[in-house]
């Protein structure tokens, strides 16, 4: 049966745009602008979901974005909040957390086992035997919970963006609108945000009794026309931080907003009355009923009873009557009075039953709704006396208005001190952090004029704090009139479930039990009972839980605090937080060649490098070994563009290098280069590279790939600390680099450059600036892989062209590209270390066999003092070369495998590989100095615990005399 009403003034639905969708397999229709909940309620659907633990039927409750029992899922999206999410054409919805559908949920039987499953039962029931806990945990998780994530859904990028404003106004009710206008009028750029799809807050549904609608229309016109006000609707501020950083969540994205001042005008949340069966479909807040009527033109119920402790209930009754409902009675906890609202009610002929409360509701069949209520009398404070039974009323709904609590989560998040006012029966802000302002109902104000004036005041105050306009004159309005909040709207008879927290299915007795067990503070109570941990984050439950706690302990509420508020105030999809994933990567200039040539790329830090070049039909290991053999036998080209490249100049360049590196560079000749080791102050090796002298005060220095940026930062710092006149430049990405290595390297390169490559003209460790096919180049003769080698550096924009030119020129010499793994193998054969692979965060140069590169007789270098101390002490470990007994062990040890003696760990492998050149497995390892003599035997514990025998060897394993990297031509040899 349709409950859709005739068009309502200002309704949010567009009747010209019907929308069809499915729920639990059945087709439904609504209008554009409907939420899922409003469309289903309009279609007569009462059971929208099942509760978390007992699987009780649940319906519409608050229609304020916090209905945690009206949550839905589609194939791809889970936990859709039905009271906020608009219906979309073709949506196929299911209720979350049911077994067999929302109507015939097989787990509804859980409702009968309530007495066996009190709060915290699983802590006691399933912790022994411990081994079975995972089983029970799984079962509990299956039974209790929310939606099921479809991990197979298509990846969807959710954008995440940044925004800025002077003043952020959160909440676009009357106070928020006034604040935004006042701040913008003063000159501030204002962002006005509201969770609802329309601006106006309560003005959008209070329009039938006062001039709210006219005031709203006027305010909206002014806001829309204001150049300095931007608005965002359907946007929730889920997190707020003291420095003005706010997390704005809309349907698509997370916006990271930076505001200079923030006005919180978030209003209030209605609070429930607690009585048996207060959770069933048909029990709802007065605000929900009015929003349903005014926003969506849906009749909330046919025959409702209104339970109220303030005049808002009267307003709801009149709205329901006007919409066509037969209002059975207004049950008022207050004594009968003669207020204008009461008089109006009587004029309408609505039955007013004062001084009463609902003792219990009578459930309809299958708990699918309400069929009546039983009333009781109240005492002089309005507290129910359930033993004093009163009328029984037949009805199909209970509409509640027993009080509100400020929507103060964001205020609390930024450190606002909130205190409970016994006079107002609510929390009120008493101390706000700088740059944060509160306005409207959140300040305890009720009347429209007060809220508007408070908004103006806050807007002017926020703007003037930023230097816009004058500070507001006069004082803010203060809460006045009788309290609108009932102090303890609870009927707690022995039978029937009366819920405090509908998210977590928590009843009054659950709190009582928890308190009796010693969980008697708000924080402990929360953790034991899980109150406030559900999707609504306790917006309807935290205050009531605190009231129960205070009552059970016989203490006043004043002085008590609810639990700490932390971001986020409302559930945020993980996809929103992840957003579009920015994972920067770096390409060398020759990247296109590598991918076209079939390179298997690997990450080296953020760089992508060729691990090896795949050859169809060959294994990874075979490819790597063939690349290495080809370098040894002919010539290979490797992209070393990722190396750090620093340029140094200035009159103090030499002094700077002398301090940075352990070696000596004041005697390095122009045109020569030298290996350099850098340590930190504790003497630990942090980097190495080649220092090339291009001119008297001009150096070109390579660093490790991963260390470049950190080294450059350190160098800048040291240059400032030392006050040296040195010019530093990190040229890493601006120069491409490649190493042409192998006995035929000279043959390939010579025709392309305008210098002589003869050994006499360009010896080992020399550096030359030249032209390579017209391109300015820096060429270093290095021997990292142990062959004749030229490291060619050219400006990055020319590097791919140079690379291709070398490949082309080397065709006759059969030049082939080789990757990082082949290079690692080749350098291992030479016994060259890789810093951070063959060293760790504690390695000093003497342990790593780099003592030859440390000149302790220099006046100063970083780490020198520490190394002097190290020098006086015996070494604890030494990096040595080894080979395994078997040329190819059945279980190949790997890097970082341990070296074991008896049951003791005495060392570890840092590098290991099978050398196709040497036809044996070789490696580097740290061992105690006592075990470093050649042929000393030891065992490596490989995968699976297998012990692999090995023995110490001298390094370099290959070409110990270094003849191949110094290679001269036959003619030169002859000379």
């Amino acid at each position: 049966m349709s409950r859709r009403l005739a068009p309502q003034p200002g309704e949010w639905i567009d009747r010209n745009r019907p929308v069809t969708f499915r729920f639990e397999g059945r087709p439904y229709s609504g209008f554009a602008g409907d939420t899922i909940t409003s469309a289903l309620w309009a279609a007569g659907v009462r059971v929208l979901g099942r509760s978390f633990k007992y699987h009780r039927p649940r319906g519409l409750y608050g229609l304020d974005g916090s209905d945690s029992n009206a949550m839905f899922e589609t194939r791809d999206v889970v936990n859709i909040r039905g009271d906020r999410a608009p219906i979309e054409e073709g949506m196929d919805l299911r209720a979350v957390n049911t077994f067999g559908g929302v109507e015939r949920d097989r787990l509804r039987i859980m409702n009968r086992f309530g007495r066996f499953t009190p709060v915290g039962f699983y802590y006691k029931a399933f912790h022994r035997p411990r081994s079975l806990f995972p089983f029970f945990e799984n079962q509990i998780r299956r039974v209790a919970g929310l939606g099921t994530v479809n991990s197979g859904k298509a990846l969807r990028h959710t954008p995440k963006d940044y925004a800025f404003c002077d003043v952020l106004v959160i909440g676009a009710g009357p106070a928020g609108l006034a604040a935004a206008l006042a701040a913008a009028d003063a000159g501030a750029r204002v962002l006005l945000v509201d969770e609802s799809p329309r601006l106006g807050g309560s003005l959008t549904w209070h329009g039938n009794l006062d001039d709210s609608r006219d005031r709203l229309a006027d305010a909206l016109r002014r806001v829309e026309a204001h150049q300095r006000i931007q608005t965002r609707t359907a946007t929730c501020v889920a997190g707020l931080y003291a420095d003005g950083w706010a997390a704005l969540i809309d349907r698509l994205r997370l916006t990271k907003l930076r505001a200079r001042a923030v006005i919180v005008a978030t209003g209030v949340f209605e609070q429930p009355a607690v009585f048996p069966h207060n959770d069933l479909p048909g029990v709802m807040f007065a605000g929900a009923a009015q929003r349903l009527i005014h926003h969506y033109a849906v009749l909330p119920a046919e025959r409702p009873v209104i339970l109220t402790a303030n005049d808002e209930g009267y307003r709801a009754a009149l709205a329901l009557r006007k919409a066509g409902a037969e209002v059975v009675a207004v049950v008022d906890t207050r004594p009968e009075g003669d207020s204008p609202a009461a008089a109006l009610l009587k004029r309408e002929g609505i039955n007013l039953l004062a001084g009463r409360f609902i003792a219990r509701a009578r459930p309809a069949g299958g708990l699918a709704g309400i069929r009546g209520v039983e009333l009781c009398r109240v005492d002089e404070r309005g507290l129910p006396r359930i033993e004093q039974r009163a009328e029984q009323l037949a009805c199909d709904a209970v509409v509640m208005s027993v009080g509100w609590t400020p929507n103060d989560t964001l205020l609390r998040m930024v450190g606002t001190r909130m205190e409970y006012s016994a006079e107002r029966e609510q929390f009120l802000p008493v101390e706000l952090p700088g740059g944060v302002f509160a306005a409207g109902k959140v300040n305890g104000l009720v009347g429209l004029e007060d809220r508007w004036a408070d908004g103006l005041h806050a807007g002017q105050a926020a703007a003037s704090a930023l230097g816009f306009g004058a500070a507001p004159g006069g004082s803010r309005p203060a809460p006045a009139g009788p309290a609108i909040n009932h102090p303890y709207p609870v009927s707690d008879p022995d039978e029937g479930k009366n819920f405090v927290d509908l998210d977590e299915d928590l009843q009054v007795k659950d709190f009582r039990n928890a308190i009796q067990e010693g969980f008697n503070s708000p924080e402990l109570l929360k953790r034991y009972s899980t109150v406030g941990m559900g999707p609504s984050q306790g917006k309807h439950a935290n205050l009531m839980a605190l009231r129960v706690l205070a009552k059970e302990r016989g203490e006043p509420l004043a002085g008590k605090q609810i639990t700490t508020a932390r971001p986020f105030s409302t559930p945020v999809a993980l996809g929103h937080l992840a957003g579009r994933i920015f994972t920067p990567y770096r390409h060398t200039p020759a990247h296109a060649f590598h991918t076209e040539r079939g390179a298997r790329m690997m990450f080296a830090g953020t760089w992508l490098r060729p691990e090896y070049y795949e050859v169809v039909g060959k294994t990874r290991e075979a490819c790597i070994q063939e690349e290495a053999l080809h370098v040894r036998g002919s010539v290979g080209l490797i992209d070393v563009g990722t190396l750090g490249k620093m340029e140094l100049g200035g009159p103090d360049a030499v002094r700077f290098l002398e301090r940075i590196y352990t070696g000596r560079f004041d005697n390095l000749k122009v045109g020569a280069s030298r290996y350099g080791v850098a340590c930190d102050e504790s003497g630990v090796v942090i980097d190495d590279g080649v220092v090339a002298r291009l001119g008297p005060n001009r150096f070109y220095v390579s660093t490790t790939t991963s260390g470049a940026d950190a080294i450059y930062r350190e160098w800048q710092r040291w240059a400032l600390c030392w006050g040296l006149k040195v010019i530093l430049n990190n040229a890493t990405a601006h120069w491409g680099a490649m190493n042409l290595a192998g006995p035929r390297a000279r043959q390939v390169l010579q025709p392309l450059v305008d210098i002589s490559l003869a050994a006499a003209d360009f010896p080992y460790m020399g550096v030359r600036e030249c032209r390579l096919d017209g391109v300015p180049a820096r060429v270093l003769r290095v021997g990292f892989v142990g062959e004749l080698g030229y490291e060619i550096h050219v400006p990055a924009g020319h590097a791919l062209g140079v690379w291709n030119r070398l490949m082309e020129a080397g065709r006759a010499a059969d030049v082939r590209p080789f990757g990082v793994e082949a290079q690692r193998l080749l350098r291992l054969e030479k016994g060259h270390i890789i810093v951070s692979q063959d060293t760790d965060g504690l390695t000093q140069p003497f342990e790593a066999g780099l003592g030859w590169a440390v000149k302790m007789d220099k006046p100063f270098f970083i780490g020198q003092r520490s190394l002097k101390i190290h020098q006086r002490r015996p070494l604890k470990r030494t990096l040595v070369g080894f080979q395994t007994d078997e040329a190819r062990p059945r279980t190949m040890p790997r890097e970082n495998h341990l070296i074991i003696e008896g049951k003791e760990m005495i060392g570890r492998v840092t590098s290991i590989a099978y050398s196709p050149t040497l036809k044996r497995t070789i490696g580097l390892a740290y061992l105690p100095p006592s075990m470093t003599a050649p042929d000393t035997r030891f065992t490596i514990r490989a995968d699976g615990g297998e012990l692999v025998p090995a023995r110490i060897c001298r390094i370099p394993f290959y070409d110990p005399a270094g003849e191949r990297q110094r290679m001269t031509t036959p003619e030169e040899d002859a000379r």
Partner: protein
């Protein structure tokens, strides 16, 4: 002579553009839809400016040195002055400058030659990746990639992060229309181009070639 290429040449090539020569450089003329690309420049467009010749300078008393070369030297840190036709000279530090040639490549080349003789000038190869984000809706792309508050832009060069990469931003109106240059280390160029292009396309814009930038696009009716 081996031609100089943009660091994102392989990313551009993957989209089958039409190439054209611009002096010694090869640049994208268009991506196959010149009409749409011209229109996009007014709305939202991304273009590659990486191949423009550049020169970095560090040293001692550089401002005086450059002034002696007849250049308008930016006085303030991060300020920018024109260099030749369509070029720029930006002050990146007290003693650090970046020069970029517009159409006058030879001017930069001769300056490089002259400065190479100066003992106090340290010439630096600048191979930056440089992109132009143009159009009225450029803010939509920045909003998703950059935490800088453009409302407080003081003019000149701004160092910030775009899509997680350290970048140098500079407002650079194109034919009187708003546009921003985004520069970064060339090694990050392919990543940043793809990130910006993807978001630009998501926002309804497109990548455009040099032809679209050269045209004087009439104002949008919107």
């Amino acid at each position: 002579m081996i031609a100089r290429t943009t660091p994102i040449a392989h990313m551009l090539a993957a989209r089958n553009p039409n190439w054209t020569a611009d002096g010694e450089r090869t640049v994208v003329r268009d991506f196959g839809d010149p009409g749409r690309e011209r229109a996009a420049v007014a709305d939202l467009a991304l273009a590659d400016l990486s191949t423009r010749p550049r020169l970095g300078l560090k040293g001692i008393n550089l401002a005086a040195l450059l002034a002696r070369q007849g250049l308008a030297v930016p006085g303030k840190l991060f300020a920018v002055e024109p260099f030749g036709q369509g070029g720029l000279i930006a002050r990146l530090g007290k003693e650090e400058f970046l020069l970029e040639a517009g159409s006058a490549e030879s001017l930069l080349a001769s300056l490089r030659e002259a400065l190479a003789r100066e003992a106090d000038a340290f010439l630096i190869e600048r191979e930056d990746a440089c992109f132009l984000l143009a159009g009225e809706r450029r803010g939509a792309v920045f909003a998703q990639t950059c935490g800088y508050n453009f409302a407080e832009y003081p003019g000149g060069v701004v160092f910030t992060r775009v899509a997680g990469v350290s970048c140098m931003l500079l407002e650079w109106p194109l034919n009187g229309r708003p546009a921003w240059r985004i520069g970064c280390a060339p090694s990050y160029g392919p990543y940043l181009w793809e990130a910006l292009r993807e978001i630009t396309v998501d926002c309804g814009g497109m990548a455009v070639g040099q032809d679209a930038l050269a045209l004087n696009v009439p104002p949008s009716s919107s």
